[in-house]
Symmetry: C5
């Protein structure tokens, strides 16, 4: 039975507050945020009022969960429905003599969170935690937030993600005959990119640079191609390494993936160029370029890219 | 006891509806679809009717699950039987004064889904979710779908898979003495191939091309074979990488596997050719081809593939 | 209490039938078969008989599990005891007015299965599923199978394994004072080897062949040894790859492991030979073979393996 | 109801003791300590007193958990809330005739633990285990520790971590109207670095040294660059290997990561230098350095780094 | 209440027997033994005696677990407390008319086991399974073993480990005022090393040998160093491969790790030697060794290691 205090039966007002304790894990690939939260629901049940003077000055009691009415608030973004249901079973609400109940519990929450990786590793994620009654509409139960932001008083900072915001909104989902009010928390977190810089970008840039210096190697040195291929494979391995830890999105290709793809294509082109140069270098002089090709290259292109001196060398 | 309203005991009509919220994961290897669904069953129980005027205008109540009859609808394609049973335990059906019950619950469903990977990464998967009573046949319980398609009003798009359809069919499995009606939902999803292109096919094609350019390298350059072997090993690694994420099917070999296998064989052949060429190149002139072999090669084959000029070179 | 119908208390006859729905996974390393099964137990309980005419023509009822006696049939080969126990809790037996009960439930069964990998990937596995009462011996409870084979009417074919047989046997384990009858099902499955061919054997054979062609390379080409070492390492990686997915057996070394070990030794020998040849090739002529060694090699061995021409070359 | 013995209702004194049995796992990446603990709570409930003489000399009884009041002590640093709640369900408190209760249970505790990896592998971790009542404040329930340190009498040493301390503190979290006393245990563990030395640092230093010896190779030997690149890639692989097992921290970059990053940059620089040297070595004499550059290098820099003799060689 | 039969209240005698069915897994890294066991507890409860003649010749009944007193025997070495507690909930003890109870259940036991890897892969592990009452001391409950060894009648041999012994000891842990008797089983298992030989040692020895033959290569062949580096990296990969599957112990460094570390250092030294030799080989004659160095090397050291002939060669 709903805890209605008056005969006109207003909806039960359930106040929802949430304390973020810890961000345990952000799994980019399956797009799940795992966090440690303290959930608290406050409401009033007039049937649970008493006069403390008559009852030995007892002002607060703790009853078993099955003895009182508990709202069926559900986390709509849960990625593990049972976690939430199980932990509720063992909790006891705190009941004041005025009929106010507090039902709070610690919880490890796994929630789905759309991970936008366009700007990886500079990404800012915004994860939704929507709490609403599962079966009572707004004629029976209304939810509200206790403060404009979530509670961060017990928050322990995460190493990998910095918390940018923990806001709360009260909104409503309207159906034809009824509407379901909800309280929605938004956890905004920004990735610390330093770890990515050191462990992923630094080696990658180093390898790219080596791939550039490849062109300084003399063609008669046999190392030129193996250096190019090694750079290429390293780039591919790095690219696959990053891809395996990011979600397989379609709409947004992260900039870092574009960078890697371009790098791979560039290094591949330079490897092909090297092969062509070695082909020319080893070709006997009996196969000559037509005179007009030479003129075009040396006079037109050469004057553009100032090929003068190295061109002398190439002809030797 | 079955909730029969009349003495002729017609089968109880249970209406099944399903809302797809999220496709959480498609594991191609073990062929399991993990999705977030809202399940709703509607039926009528005449024993749970009352006159609201007599009961203080209460039109809707929520009773504990153990107080009323609940149909034993089972997901026949479940890959994790307990998930479904556990989550049902904690839900409370909503009962209207007319005797109509609604039993709905959010659920993370793991269902087996035959993954057809012939056209990977262009594959379209069709996953079945068959709901039917476990122990009541059609003389006792009948199921029906509420609409010709599943409910997508709360669907949140997935990054990796686009939803192509979410249809529903009512069919029946007939045994000798009884038949079991069922409501079967079909989730049709199509893979976004962009992610595969960038992270798997692009590097692979780049490496294949490098393997082709290998033939441009002069034989006296020692790099030719190491380049071929590197290409070959890279192809093998890519092939094993893809194979490990696809189911080990027998009936259908995916086209992409065929492509990789052919690439491997081709690159291997070109490596062998290179070895043979280097053998010829280094062989001293004292071992000569018989005159007729030369003639056959140069005059017959040469004229076909226009070998003229490079043949000159080969003879030097 | 046991459901004895007569005063002489014969053992309760429990009929066990099993429907194989799906083979979900065969984990060769930890030797576990994961399958989706429908289990059905039939028995008679005289205390649950009634006259349908007196009870409003009700011929079948569904009672909660805790209201009736349920046999404690246990899967003796279970690799996850709780899976089976949990799923039983939520099921309701179907009771006919004659006193016959049917207790059936869908189940995901993880059972230990001795994996014989001698003939991998041509292996045929035979997994046992032994059902027997845990605490009632044959004086109290007797089990029997309903048909000579398990039920395959709802079987959905697996991609990786083809079902060769699904037989059932009734046997008995005898102790000094009592004996426990059991019904044992055998799932026989044969691996589809095509997937192994394409993804594991094809690259491996290709690499072995390249290792053979190594000998065609001229010794003065520096590539000969790096090619040999690359082949060797690739063989080792393939071998470790297969080994990691097979159980670490002692009694039976699979033929494929023997093949890989021999290949590794052969490629290693050929690499060593190459090193020796290069040593000889680069050695200055001042260190000469003794005359009698030459004679032995050229005249004795040479005539056997027709070394004539290439021997000329070696001396140049 | 709270077990108040007198009318002035002092807070219930709950004594908390903890025995560390085993450190099962320290997962640096997700920052979780998994340990095997024995938890014991002692308190007094006056309602559970009796006179043993009247009751057949029974001085101790064991009652089911649901029959008596149990304090809702919660592990605030738990990383798996259900583990703790589940195991409590099955335990029976021991009740003495004086009204003293002991509620103890073995538990596998997963607790979050901030891992400071600055000094890895010489790191000393300090993991907090805070026990406090969840819903009773200090007016109702007070906690205390039984001894100044945790109990180590049954501790079994861990292979990887040595226990440096297991202290306990009693503190209090104060809110505006109430305060929650807590008993906090600190597990201090120090990593045994020998395993890291042998398996991670030894190979890494060996590879770095090889990268240094690279400069001894003559420039005309083609191996110089491939050796440098191999060293570079090995360093990168080692660096990624370590990074994957450490948490992605921002505030503190571990010294070992700094060392690896510097090594990578150094080896990369030496590879680039090698490329430049080979460039110079192969450049034909027709392109000469300006006279003043030579003078600067040889006379100024050369005199500083004593370039005399090798400079002679470079000019040849 | 304890099942005391007489007024002097002797401790309840609980007889513990254990049948080992299967060794499912030995995880060396986290040091956990996973085995399939049948646990059986026997004791006498005088309150559960009856005269079969009065009760229709019923001599044995099965009661629900919650109806009778069950000893709180706990596995002290459990690595997963809930596994044991859960499976007990569903079992029914068998009660004889004499008051003797048998409480048996199949169980998958995960127990911590100190893994001594000094002699890997020749290691013999001894895993303890200590059963004792959790809250009853020896004044209330006494445990005993039924036979000097554990029951192996239903044991199915493991592929990877051979069972060397399954002994049982009865001992006691004494505290100041009370003592807790326990029954401790020891599972002794010996690893089959054949699998390690073939898949880990064979390739490793092959690669070491190749690293030795490196010295036979002529210095002017550029392959010498790349061969050395390849051997070195292969050794490192093998070493890391083994290290990742063994626990990170400090006290005992396994012999195989020492072997690998020495091999790495040796191969590294040989690579450095090769670099030095190449340096000398390529150095122009203008830089000469001082006369006295030559004399020392050739006359003193040379005469020791019989350097005669190859010394000649080195000077050419």
């Amino acid at each position: 039975m709903l805890p209605n205090c008056t005969d006109d039966k207003p909806p039960v007002q359930v106040n929802i507050s949430l304390s973020l304790i810890n961000i345990l894990d952000v799994d980019e690939r399956v797009q799940i945020l795992k966090s440690s939260m303290w959930v608290r629901w406050h409401w009033k049940d007039c049937r649970l009022q008493w006069d403390p003077k008559q009852y030995d000055d007892v002002t607060v009691i703790h009853l078993g969960r099955e003895r009182v009415w508990i709202p069926d608030i559900t986390l709509y973004d849960s990625a593990s429905v049972m976690d939430f249901l199980d932990v509720i079973q063992y909790q006891r609400p705190v009941i004041k003599y005025t009929g106010h109940l507090v039902f709070g519990f610690p919880s490890i929450i796994s929630s789905t969170c759309y991970i936008n990786i366009l700007n990886f590793p500079y990404d800012l994620q915004r994860c939704r935690l929507k709490f609403s009654s599962w079966s009572y509409d707004n004629k029976f139960l209304d939810v509200s937030n206790s403060s404009p932001t979530g509670d961060l008083s017990a928050y322990v900072a995460n190493n990998e993600w910095s918390l940018e915001g923990f806001t709360v909104e009260r909104s409503s989902v309207n159906y034809t005959t009824s509407s379901f009010p909800d309280v929605t928390f938004f956890v905004e977190i920004r990735r610390h990119p330093l770890h990515i810089y050191i462990n992923l970008l630094l080696p990658c840039i180093v390898i790219s640079l080596i791939g550039v210096f490849m062109f300084l190697l003399p063609p008669e040195s046999g190392e030129r191609i193996s250096l190019g291929i090694t750079s290429l494979l390293s780039m591919v391995v790095f690219s696959m390494n990053i891809a395996s830890s990011l979600p397989a999105t379609n709409a947004t290709v992260p900039h870092i993936t574009k960078y890697f793809s371009c790098s791979i294509i560039l290094v591949a082109c330079s490897a092909v160029c090297t092969i062509l140069i070695m082909r020319l270098h080893h070709t006997s002089d009996s196969i000559r370029l037509p005179r007009w090709v030479k003129r075009v290259i040396i006079e037109c292109i050469g004057s553009v890219i100032l090929l003068g001196q190295s061109c002398q060398y190439q002809k030797v």
